[in-house]
Amino acid sequence: MNHEPDILGFACNWCGYAGADGAGQAKLQYPTSIRIIRVMCLGRVDPSFVLSAFERGYDGVALIGCHIGDCHYLSGNVNAQTVVEHLRGILDTMGLGRERLRMEEVSSREGPRFAELVRTFKDQLVAMGPSPLKKGKVELAEEGDRP
């Protein structure tokens, strides 16, 4: 089944977001399926953010941050790795599949790597089919929306 997946990306200010910016500045082509939320560090990403995204119908969530060891706050991305591991367990139990959650290391100079990540993630989600929680294209939340 062919469908246009919705991906939510959490990108850290120092590496992931700068990498995405780099991909844009270099005019690299990548799918528009991804929406990016900038966070200061992946350590800020609470498990409930990710699950809330799936609840709203996103097909995949990507956490894009610094390479391990390069975290601006020393250990934010290491903490995020633990969170991701547990969230994957929850996604498996829920039947959505652990592959719908990705954590990637993209440094500020790796624009091409960011573009490639979005491409492969999109292809993978197309192959997996839409999330069972999907109710059509995910609409952006209105201001004041509560989870």
């Binding site: 609470d46 498990p47 409930s48 953010f49 699950l51 809330s52 799936f54 609840e55 547990h86 969230l87 367990g89 929850i90 498996d92 139990t93 829920m94 039947g95 959505l96 069972p132 929680l133 509560r146 989870p147």
Partner: protein, 375 residues
């Protein structure tokens, strides 16, 4: 069976203040007074109560009704007020970022096909049959609360059921019972979950549903019955195992265990009045090493958290108080019949306790019983 909303004017409160005296929240914070809030409600200021934070701070442990001479249902009113507050988009403070509520809302979607039986691999269970084992959220807790295993409770229950000659039905389609939604004012999600669960259980032809969680037990038994008539009977595992032990269907070897004490969870004790079965089972397993705490049965102290929504510094005081009380009996294991009590105490012991509580474990009764099972 339809539910009649509780209205403040129906409450037979006589303003005697007994509720406030026994309230655990009041024990730590004297400004929290159920009597005062009841007066407010009786005076027709329910709307103001809804808007305030007090209604979200009640632990719903029901100690107030235990003490009340006129059986005033303050906790029922709290549930009602929370429901009304939710409708007006007022919300409790986020604990765990609403994680539990998000999971419940996801599960309330009929399109979800869960794979929740990973823990039961290699154990005996069926697809259809007379008995249904309602696991609850235990498979999720393993990934949510990282101290200890939570499916170990499910495994122990299944082992005991098998030992008693029952091969229960387990279903991937089972969902959370909806307890947290119901008590956080989200009756819509609760109704969806209740409908799906009743359909799932009915489809397996089960006539008896066993739960190993005090909250699942009370929710299925009392709150599902409010939604619609149930085609099955609900029983908590501890009642069943105590009965089986009495009949000789389960045999335990008395192991020289360190002291064991029992903490009454609110949903099994004060809500459902089951006090003797867990004690009977524990005495059968631990013999004379079972010791009682000071505050037991209807007087038992709350674990300090209601439906994952009101954990704060008061909670920590209550937990510390209770754990020290358990330690004073000389017990090294505090046993409970509610996985959530175990999570909340476990969280306290695993986190940053006010001062360390040495040599005390909090465990579920099924785990203790399964270990002592005679082969």
């Amino acid at each position: 069976m339809s539910r009649k909303p509780i209205s403040a004017s129906d409450l037979p409160c006589i303003q005697c203040n007994k509720c406030t005296h026994v309230c655990p929240q009041n024990m730590v914070d004297p400004a929290f007074t159920p009597r005062g809030y009841l007066l407010q409600a009786l005076m027709g200021e329910g709307a103001e109560l809804e808007a305030g934070p007090e209604v979200w701070r009640c632990l719903t442990c029901l100690k107030c009704r235990e003490a009340c001479p006129s059986s005033t249902d303050w906790v029922g009113l709290v549930r009602e007020l929370r429901h009304n507050a939710k409708g007006k988009d007022q919300c409790f403070e986020c604990k765990h970022g609403h994680l539990v509520q998000i999971l419940q809302r996801m599960m309330a979607n009929p399109a979800i096909e869960q794979k929740r039986l990973g823990w039961a691999e290699g154990l005996e269970f069926a697809d259809r049959g007379e008995w249904f084992y309602f696991t609850g959220c235990l498979p999720y807790f393993d990934n949510m609360f990282t101290f200890g295993s939570h499916t170990s409770i499910a495994k122990a229950t299944l082992k005991l059921l098998n030992a008693g000659g029952v091969v229960p039905v387990l279903s991937n389609q089972e969902r959370c019972c909806g307890y947290e939604c119901l008590w956080n004012g989200d009756r819509e999600t609760f109704s969806k979950l209740a409908k799906l669960n009743i359909e799932t259980i009915a489809a397996t032809g089960a006539k008896k549903v066993v739960t190993s969680c005090a909250e699942c037990f009370h929710t299925l038994k009392a709150d599902y019955a409010e939604e619609r008539e149930l085609p099955f009977e609900v029983v908590h595992s501890v009642t069943l195992f105590a009965q089986w032990a009495r009949e000789g269907r389960l045999r335990f070897r008395k192991t020289p265990t360190p002291g064991v004490t029992y903490h009454d969870p609110c949903r099994l004790g004060r809500y459902e009045g089951i006090y003797d079965a867990p004690r009977e089972l524990l005495k059968g397993v631990a013999g004379d090493s079972f010791k009682e705490m000071e505050r037991i049965r209807g007087d038992a102290l709350c674990c300090g958290v209601g439906n994952f929504s009101n954990c704060d510094s008061n909670t920590k005081f209550l937990q510390h108080d209770r754990l020290l009380e358990a330690r004073r009996t000389g017990a090294e294991v505090m046993v409970t019949t509610c996985p959530k009590c175990r999570i909340h105490y476990g969280c306290y012991l695993d986190g940053r306790p006010i001062e360390p509580v040495e040599n005390l474990q909090v465990r579920d009764i099924t785990e203790i019983a399964a270990e002592a099972l005679e082969p």
